[in-house]
């Protein structure tokens, strides 16, 4: 079989000047398209710096090591949740259970520590509880065709209810619990007076989760499968990607991260856990993801964008608390308005892409 194939027998035409041009145009349009998916994220970044600069000019003491580190530390649990939510939303799903899972994990974990289970083991179990809730939603979604919205809603009810059955009053860990080590202040920059840049192990965990999330989404096969499921599930299936396994994993990861957020949060508030913790946190996480430029229809989005989204929410809260004249009653209205602007921006961009 030495005969050449038909394709080989056709002389190459790559040198023709006409053929080069379209390729270049194509490359430019590809670049343009890719940069368009970045526009919402860039817009969020611009808005964030605008807000911070405005706050600095209007109220002062914003670009200030003390303020910045307090803000970062208090938003560490939200950052962890936002990473998990990004993965879920990129896959075209939604996880409404995270806030309630935080409540259940923290109450259950603190109770375990109080009955004498080793603190580190209890923390592992807290992550395990979160992962278990995620596993149940994942299995319902993948194998029983339940909509993600409903499955995670059920888990939200279940986790909140179980947390309340465990205890409706706050439970507190012992003073010597290793959990509290996670809230140790590490002074990174020793500034004048109270202007120190301090971080806690909890914040470090959040940073590691962000790095892990970026690595997972952009450098692993499973991460690419997540994008593929969100883009077009049937295509992903036909390409032979492990859709079923990946989807269950997505929810397990989201649940486990909620468990981790519970550890960080409980440590931060001095080891106090309550069944009403985390009400509305899923909305914060979803808002952060949306502001960060991830499309709710799935397939597009960046973990770092969601982190920018968390910071936008944090800056909003900072401005409202610094400015005494804005009624705190307006907080949710303003958050809603910011969210609306970003969703509209996304809408304009996706409409153009569809044309």
């Amino acid at each position: 079989m030495s005969a050449r194939t038909l394709a080989e027998s056709v002389p190459p035409v790559a040198d023709l000047p006409e053929s080069r041009q379209p390729r270049q145009v194509k490359r430019f349009s590809g670049l343009w398209e890719r940069s368009q998916t970045l526009i919402p994220t860039l817009a969020a970044l611009v808005l964030l710096f605008g807000m911070l600069i405005y706050a600095e000019v209007a109220y002062g003491r914003v670009f200030h090591a003390g303020t910045m580190s307090t803000l970062l530390v208090s938003f560490a649990p939200t950052i962890i949740l936002a990473v998990g939510m990004t993965i879920v939303i990129v896959s075209g799903g939604i996880d409404l259970s995270v806030g309630a899972v935080v409540a259940f994990s923290s109450v259950a974990g603190v109770m375990l520590m109080n009955i004498g289970i080793n603190g580190w083991l209890s923390m592992l179990l807290m992550i395990g509880f979160g992962a278990l809730f995620g596993l149940i939603s994942g299995v319902m979604i993948q194998y029983f065709n339940v909509q993600p919205f409903i499955a995670t809603l059920a888990m939200m009810f279940l986790a909140r209810g179980l947390a309340s059955i465990l205890s409706t009053t706050p439970v507190v860990v012992a003073e010597d619990s290793p959990l509290l080590l996670l809230a140790t202040d590490w002074k990174i920059i020793d500034g004048p007076k109270v202007n120190d840049f301090t971080i806690t192990p909890g914040l470090l965990i959040a940073v590691l989760v962000v790095l892990g999330g970026i690595f997972f989404m952009h450098r692993t096969r499973m991460g690419r499968t997540v994008y593929a499921i969100g883009g077009n599930e049937s295509s992903a299936q036909l390409m032979g990607l492990p859709v079923a396994r990946t989807r269950v994993w997505i929810y397990v990861v989201s649940g486990a991260l909620a468990g981790l957020a519970a550890i960080v949060y409980t440590a931060e508030v001095g080891g106090k856990a309550q069944n009403v913790t985390g009400i509305g946190w899923e909305l914060d996480a979803i808002a952060a993801v949306v502001i960060g430029g991830t499309l709710l229809t799935g397939g597009y989005g960046y973990v770092l964008g969601s982190i920018v989204g968390v910071f936008v929410l944090a800056a909003l809260r900072l401005i409202i608390t610094k400015d005494g004249t804005i009624n705190p009653e307006y907080l949710t209205i303003i958050t809603g308005a910011v969210l609306l602007v970003f969703v509209l921006l996304q809408r304009v961009l996706t409409r153009r892409r569809a044309d």
């Binding site: 065709n145 888990m155 209810g161 309340s164 069944n275 969210l339 809408r347």
Partner: protein, 363 residues
């Protein structure tokens, strides 16, 4: 035999069984649970069953609105916040007018509450029908914003007011039934007749099944979507009025909190598919009654009210599993379908249903 089979497949049949089981549990705990007696001082009937009917009125209202929204393949997460807005407007109006016996003040309060709800519902409709946002996200934004609006209306306070006619909404009785329940059922019947005796219900369903095809068939989706979200907001506002009239106080963070989930749950229990295109008003009403019964039962058994969500979760999980292809083929011995990946939602809608459902609604 086939009749029994049809009944077994009707989702709200299971809801009725559920209500019966819950009532049975309560009766076992206290044999006098179902008893209804006359209160000697007020001359009104009292009893646990009447309590259940009274607390079900707001849930019936939001579930009714949610039914139509879900039938268009949408979702309205803002109903709970909308209840708070309705309650806040009413309480603020009544406390400003402050005439404890005036019927006029009551109607002013109700009118203003409805008007604001219609405006907010129209914004939802605008975002969904004209801008083309996903219903989930537009109503999520409205959920956050409306809760804030309720706070702004009352200045963040839990406002209370006195107005006897308004208080009678929940605490009065008509023919021995709680007034709010009677009004709620009247609204349900009127809307059911309107939906099923005109083509409106069919149009809503057709948009839920395939908006593109229904547009080609000459149905204009925009006004219908607008109408559906306005209706949902207005009904939620009425639900808010019912729930504040019971205590004559609006709690800006508590009124209607998480009630959107109750509404969705009631609709799902009633057999309306979340994939859109099919709705059952009777089913949603029975679903709302089941939730009200569940709430009361949990309290009656001495379990902390905060634990109720766990029981609701069990109800949801059992129901969605019963509705899933995999369990059905296993339980009802249908030809075994291969493990189908979720993928695009399958049109499980029975196209011949509307005719038979019409009877169902009237019955």
């Amino acid at each position: 035999m086939s009749r029994v089979k049809t009944a077994l497949r009707t989702p709200w049949f299971w809801a009725i069984i559920g209500i019966a089981v819950l009532l049975l549990i309560n009766t076992i705990k206290n044999p006098a649970y179902l008893a209804v007696s006359v209160n000697p001082t007020t001359g009104m009937l009292t009893g646990n069953v009447l309590d259940i009917l009274r607390v079900s009125a707001p849930i019936i209202m939001i579930a009714l609105g949610m039914t139509f929204v879900i039938a268009t393949k949408g979702i309205d997460l803002s109903v709970g916040s909308m209840m708070a807005v309705g309650g806040a407007v009413a309480m603020e109006t009544l406390s400003t007018l402050n005439d404890p016996t005036s019927v006029g003040a009551m109607f002013t309060a109700i009118g203003l509450a409805l008007a604001l709800a219609i405006v907010l519902g129209a914004i939802n409709g605008l975002l969904v029908a004209v801008v083309g946002l996903q219903p989930f996200i537009s109503t999520l934004i409205m959920m956050m914003a409306a809760r804030g609006i309720a706070r702004v209306i009352t200045d963040g306070q839990n406002t209370n007011a006195t107005n006897e006619p308004f208080r009678q909404l929940a605490n009065g009785q008509i023919l021995g039934l709680p007034t709010s329940f009677v009004i709620a059922i009247a609204i349900v019947v009127i809307i059911a007749l309107f939906m099923r005796r005109t083509a409106l219900g069919l149009m809503i369903e057709s948009i839920g099944i395939n908006p593109h095809a229904s547009r080609l068939a000459g149905i204009r989706p925009r006004p219908i979507l607008f109408g559906v979200y306005i209706l949902s907001a207005a009904l939620a506002s009425v639900g808010g009025l019912f729930s504040v009239s019971e205590v004559m106080t609006v709690s800006v963070s508590g009124t209607g909190n998480l009630m959107e989930l109750d509404a969705i749950l009631a609709v799902v229990i009633g057999g309306t598919s979340l994939a859109g295109g099919k709705f059952s008003i009777l089913g949603s009403t029975i679903g709302a009654l089941l939730i009200a019964t569940l709430n009361k039962t949990v309290l009656f058994l001495g379990i902390p009210a905060a634990a109720t969500p766990a029981f609701k979760a069990l109800v949801i999980i059992v129901l969605v599993l019963l509705q899933s292809e995999r369990v059905r083929s296993f339980a009802f011995g249908r030809s075994k379908t291969k493990g189908t990946p979720p993928g695009p939602p399958k049109p499980t809608v029975d196209r011949s249903a509307p005719v038979s459902k019409e009877k169902e609604v009237v019955a």
